[in-house]
Symmetry: C4
Subunit: 124 residues, 4 copies
């Protein structure tokens, strides 16, 4: 491609993983949606920031070359097997060894019907 695309570091300030799901079809969930338009695989490292405790930085993922990975924050586990804390506000830093594009989306079904929100993450 020649030109620089995307960024190696992206920030998302509004994370929230609801423990409540009443949807008929879907559970409440968030996704860090990664697009890797280059040919080389990207290794991705996610750091979580909280309001009342230290950051957690052991969440890893991969996005292969010319692929996407919609990283489900309700499914990811850190190197100790722990998941993302539920029902507390948090924020995320997404670091990659390749240039990627990052979009954040949330589906909330805690009140039966579905609510959606999305935004491009903020690049470094």
């Amino acid at each position: 491609m020649g030109k620089t695309i995307g960024s190696k570091t992206w920030f998302i300030a509004d994370g929230y993983y609801s423990s409540i799901s009443k949807g008929q079809l879907f559970n409440s969930h968030e996704a860090i949606c990664v697009l890797n338009p280059g040919k080389e695989d990207a290794q991705i490292h996610i750091t979580l920031y909280f309001e009342d405790r230290d950051k957690i930085d052991g969440f890893m993922a991969q996005c292969k070359g010319e692929r996407t990975n919609h990283i489900r924050m309700d499914k990811i586990r850190d190197s100790n097997g722990k998941g993302v804390p539920m029902d507390v506000p948090y924020a995320m830093m997404v670091e990659s060894d390749r240039d990627i594009i990052v979009q954040y989306s949330r589906m909330d079904t805690s009140q039966a019907e579905m609510a959606l929100m999305t935004t491009m993450a903020h690049p470094l």
Copy 2:
């Protein structure tokens, strides 16, 4: 206009085309909304990226000069007549031969009531 506006390449990381629609008025759908503020027509080429299969790059569209085109991803067909795969995560690269502005929106009616989300795409 003199100044450069928009970009010729835009990225959207969170695509999802739900096969389920229960809305009274609208089907679940996504749109790549293109604005071409220049006087020349823009030829648009959309590439789809997946989690588990090779990219597909045969989706073409046009946005005339000083017009918009809200490209419906549930209606577009590639050069072989195939549509966008349903119920799988995907991502999109939108390439144009003219500078355009690209916004991505999704309406989901899979649970009767409507959910909406939108974001500007990420420019190269």
Copy 3:
């Protein structure tokens, strides 16, 4: 402030003004939300782009200095007294004689419950 803030020209690619409202409290509507952080009043000129007809450029608004104006697209009238066409896709260019910040939001109540979406517009 010294530094340049915002932009004089902003683009929104996904406009849609639904003629249907079933909400108990709110009608379906869109707003071009303008923030003018400077001290001078801003004169604003909105151009609408369509899929199948020529652009319309006679919509004017004002945002006073150190004020906001959430321009309701269901209420604005052009210099001939005409409103925004309903139930057709459109796009917008927002031009100002002062630097402003522009965000676009839509509330849809066409299926009884409310759906919301928002995004920062794309600056020139």
Copy 4:
């Protein structure tokens, strides 16, 4: 980190704090979600802009180093103990003495079911 991240000043043009909440689990609310990825604490100053009255600039908050703060606009009070006015359009400027990332989100439960919207704020 070496490189500059985020910004010290961010703008949000679409603020609205609904006085009506019918949700079973959540009240209608907005949040200015701040991520401070640096090691130093950030002092945050929020100015509100209105359509029909002077700006209000006495809202203060803090985001500690390597922490997030999802500033709830329904809970914040200015130096005189006053809250954010309800049911009127407003806009926000967020100023920090450290580089931060700012995202704005709104949850509306005024019609029983939940609607969500989010966007990255616009940096200076």
